[in-house]
């Protein structure tokens, strides 16, 4: 984590017992409590309709809780015009469907929309637009009309549009949805560079393997309730809560356990992905005499 010293433990955004009910009577959130640490990477996991988008819209004050409280940097959210302006300049929101977020048919114009709303002068806005387009790797396509871009490129324009506002917390609603593997990798690289710059990230996902690999903290949601919040390496201890969401533990956890049982992996440190596990197996010193090496080798031969 690249959090500034001294502020690592202070939650940047905090939800305390937040409830929300939609005008049609359906429950959006039910007593949700959640903390987002400054500079951390957070994954919010929940089934469709579990309230992830509703929760995100509370972060940006697009929705106001019926009860409970949200705090940003320790202070309760101010829902006045000026308060909203300040909050929305600090909390950037990237929606799931890019076609519902892009206003202008020109990439550069659309990215300039947010910073101009902040009341910045044109020279500053132009510089921010360039920097944001560079950050998402879209500088070469700045002159292209939006309708000629691919889905992944539109998504990156959406992120650039929010980055140009230089938020402290970036909230992304299912950013990987609809992206192919290559685009997902590109987007991940963008997120990684933002995290390196100290930006706090919160994203919604259905992919538990990705969340385990990427996030510092994982938050679980079910039926409008925040059911658990923990550091990613502790995921194995929340198997039951995951099962309640219809999800299983990432395969790498089972594999790591099995290898440890067979004495092939001595170290118990956090290995978030199969790639990390393989690297560990290849590079790390193996325990002296693996107890069950022979049967395992035999199995491999049989296969």
């Amino acid at each position: 984590m690249s959090a500034a010293p001294g502020t690592a433990n202070a939650p940047l955004l905090e939800l305390e017992d937040v409830s929300f009910r939609y005008p049609d009577g359906s429950t959006g959130l039910h007593g949700c409590s959640l903390g987002i640490a400054r500079g951390s990477r957070n994954a919010l996991i929940g089934a469709n309709g579990s309230g992830k988008t509703t929760l995100f819209q509370h972060c940006n004050a697009l929705l106001r809780p019926a009860s409970g409280q949200l705090r940003y940097a320790g202070a309760p959210l101010d829902y006045s015009r000026a308060g909203l302006r300040t909050l929305r300049s600090k909390v950037g929101m990237v929606f799931q469907n890019p076609d519902r977020q892009l206003f202008s048919a020109s990439v550069r114009e659309d990215v300039s929309f947010g910073p101009l709303n902040l009341g910045l002068d044109e020279a500053t806005v132009a510089a921010r637009v360039e920097a944001a387009l560079q950050a998402v790797g879209m500088a070469d396509l700045a002159h292209k009309p939006v309708q000629n871009l691919s889905f992944g490129q539109k998504k990156r324009v959406c992120i650039a549009g929010v980055l140009a506002m230089e938020p402290e917390l970036l909230v992304l609603d299912e950013p990987m949805a609809g992206l192919d593997q290559a685009m997902q990798e590109e987007l991940l690289a963008v997120l990684e560079s933002l995290h390196q710059r100290g930006m706090t990230l919160l994203l919604a996902t259905h992919d538990i393997n990705f969340a385990y690999r990427w996030a510092d903290r994982i938050h679980l949601m079910a039926a409008g309730r925040c059911t658990a919040s923990f550091a990613a390496p502790q995921l194995a201890a929340h198997e039951a809560q995951l099962a309640a969401l219809g999800l299983r533990l990432p395969a790498v956890i089972g594999l790591q356990r099995l290898l440890q049982q067979h004495g092939l992996l001595g170290d118990t440190r956090h290995l978030p992905s199969c790639t990390a596990l393989l690297t560990e197996l290849q590079q790390g010193p193996l325990p002296e005499t693996p107890r069950h090496a022979a049967p395992l080798a035999k199995t491999a031969e049989q296969e």
Partner: protein
């Protein structure tokens, strides 16, 4: 979509929109100067078309396809002006072509062709986003510009939605018979209405999330050679107007 394609792909895409607007305005003024002089009107139209095809390198086929609907309506209007239906001496109705009517039709056609060529020059060389930016600089009311921006963007979103829906309906035999076609079109219209409403709601939220509290503001693209472009286009426009004036003087 053809206009869109040409506006982004032509050779003069980077030329300042103000310059292209000025030249098109010159063309329009010239078209009005040569009213009732069909030959001069045709000349101006030919000149403007040559500039569009030769200068901006717009493909001739595309130019004709874009112009076709306007030419079709012009032909119908000119025909109805030139030919009148009147009762015959021996009873019944007959078609009559009066010299006055023909002259009027030719005059209108000449002027319209020149005007059409001027507008085609502008729209085939300038993307709408540039035109909107130009209108903003010319202090067009914000409300009108916001509507233009949203309509333009929504056009593509909805053409995409319509295509998807049509494909989905066709895949389930939605257009198998006339009856089914009617049913499918009705369903699509209903679905699209709901989508428009949802989309408007979503765009409103997206605008709020990016701190919007009123007019939609965007950064304009800089055009480094704007002064030079405008000077050149100004001379071109003046030349067109003078040419039209000279043609008006020499032709009866």
């Amino acid at each position: 979509m053809l206009i869109e394609q040409s506006a982004y792909a032509n050779r003069w895409r980077g030329v300042a929109p103000a310059a292209k607007g000025l030249f098109a305005l010159g063309g329009l003024v010239a078209a009005f100067i040569v009213t009732h002089r069909p030959a001069a009107g045709l000349g101006i139209a030919a000149l403007l078309a040559t500039v569009t095809l030769g200068g901006a390198r717009v493909a001739p086929g595309l130019y004709l396809r874009v112009a076709a609907p306007a030419l079709f309506f012009l032909a119908i209007s000119a025909l109805s002006l030139a030919v009148s239906v009147a009762p015959e001496a021996q009873g019944g109705l007959g078609l009559h072509a009066s010299p006055d009517g023909q002259a009027l039709a030719a005059g209108v056609a000449g002027r319209s062709l020149a005007g059409l060529a001027a507008l085609l020059f502008l729209v085939l060389t300038t993307p709408l986003t540039d035109l909107i930016a130009l209108l903003r600089r010319l202090r067009t009311p914000e409300v009108l510009l916001d509507i233009m921006v949203l309509c333009y963007r929504t056009l593509f979103v909805f053409s995409g939605a319509v295509q998807d829906m049509r494909t989905a309906q066709a895949a389930r035999l939605g257009y198998g018979s006339r009856r089914q076609t009617l049913r499918s079109l009705g369903g699509m219209a209903a679905n699209l209405t709901v989508q428009i409403w949802q989309r408007a709601q979503a765009l409103h939220l997206a605008a709020l999330a990016r701190n919007n509290d009123g007019p939609l503001r965007f950064l304009t693209t800089p055009h480094p050679h704007a002064r030079r472009d405008i000077a050149l286009a100004g001379s071109g426009a003046t030349a067109l107007v003078m040419l039209a004036w000279a043609a008006r003087m020499v032709t009866p």
